[in-house]
Symmetry: C2
Subunit: 251 residues, 2 copies
């Protein structure tokens, strides 16, 4: 994920040749059924999982059963699906006509996560400590956990890519997303909320906080959003009923 | 840029209602000559600068003179250009045919920044201290500086957006980019290098480091890339000859 590259270190008036650890970044073109769907800059490795997760969270495939083949070449990954007519559109945001801060994302068109699944605050803390380092400003980490513990973990220079990678692993290995919790290192944005909803993941937690729009959309769609997880502390932005094991404080 | 939203704070077994400062995030649809060009999630405010910077770094306009009008509506910004036939294509990455880690970004098709402009390491440190806070994991900051000091500064939940905002300010106010330095808080990716090249900005510096691909492309195109700026220290990844005021250390 990192590679040593040459650099010149400057410290006040001193200058000398040195080396830096730089995050690796590659350009990846994704082709679906022969057509160019998108180009992303991603970290190398685990590209099958990334492609599967992206297609799933963009609702181009409904599951692993709709993937006929995935072929990797240099800087290119080509997927054939069993439904070649469902193509990648501009689905990233569902725009509705009226004004207001959240109404341009039409929450009525997003999947709703039904009540039912919950987990303990202690479990969230445990997953976070096990899988997600504190933000380094270099690379993002995401993970997926269920009752058995951490299912998978991935790093990427982009926070959406890292989330797509762990969801893609889940798609390819048949994870039941409805009983999982997604974990990540960076800010929870509306785009990450949308990806969890597409996958029917009921809880997302982060070392960092959430945006206003992420919290608004999550509240209306049943996704539990937890930020600032550190030690035994956390802040719940939406649907706290999914988090048990804590009692309301007396004051 | 931030708004207080309700949350539930959990600390061990205690749980109580509280408030969090969340970064504001809005959905913005950009229309160029009546056509939908892209939808981004951005921080609110300064949307004219964002739109102008995006169109300039995507090479849809060559300067402010090609903007006929910019109209802001709720969650939508519409630009008319004097050249309605130059439209937004999939220009984000210039893919060439052959393999290899960087060759898929065809540096021969990217602008080259000619030698000439340089500035002192002390100036870079001064600009950084004045304009760019250390990474908070919440929001990104970018700035543009020239011999007169900081020209403009912007924050956004996305690091590319923050860079587009300061470049857009420069486009609208007639800044001569060829004698400027871009500053930012987050990792310098290949996409940020590409944006600087499109604007002919000769130096980019960050509190964080650069990716391998960013360093590779910058080396071939004359852009000076400086990372890890802190105190009087920094690491130069590409084209250190643009940075004067330091002497090689004896060893």
């Amino acid at each position: 994920m990192f590679r040593k590259i040459p650099c010149i270190r400057i410290d006040g008036s001193r200058r000398k040749p040195s080396e830096c650890n730089a995050a690796e970044e590659m350009v990846l073109a994704l082709f679906v059924n022969g057509r160019h769907t998108m180009t992303a800059t991603v970290s190398p490795g685990g590209l099958r999982e990334f492609a599967a997760g992206y297609l799933f969270t963009e609702q181009i495939i409904a599951g692993a059963g709709e993937i006929e083949s995935i072929r990797e070449e240099t800087n290119r990954i080509s997927v054939l699906t069993t439904n070649p007519f469902r193509t990648a559109g501009a689905k990233k945001t569902v725009l509705s006509g009226c004004g207001g801060s959240t109404s341009y994302i039409d929450t009525a068109k997003l999947p709703i996560i039904p009540p039912g699944f919950s987990l303990s605050a202690a479990a969230v803390t445990g997953f976070m400590e096990e899988a997600i380092p504190r933000a380094t400003g270099r690379i993002h980490t995401a993970a997926l956990a269920d009752a058995g513990g951490i299912v998978t973990r991935a790093e990427d220079i982009g926070r959406h890519n890292a989330l797509d990678r762990v969801i893609g692993h889940g798609v390819l290995s048949g994870v039941d997303f409805e009983t999982t919790c997604a974990l990540c290192s960076g800010v929870i944005s509306s785009e990450m909320v949308r990806k969890c909803l597409a996958a029917r993941i009921p809880v997302i937690a982060s070392r960092a906080d959430a945006t206003t729009l992420a919290a608004d959309i999550a509240r209306k769609t049943g996704l539990c959003v937890i930020g600032c997880v550190s030690g035994g502390g956390m802040a719940v932005y939406a649907n706290p009923e999914r988090l048990n094991g804590s009692t309301p404080s007396p004051e």
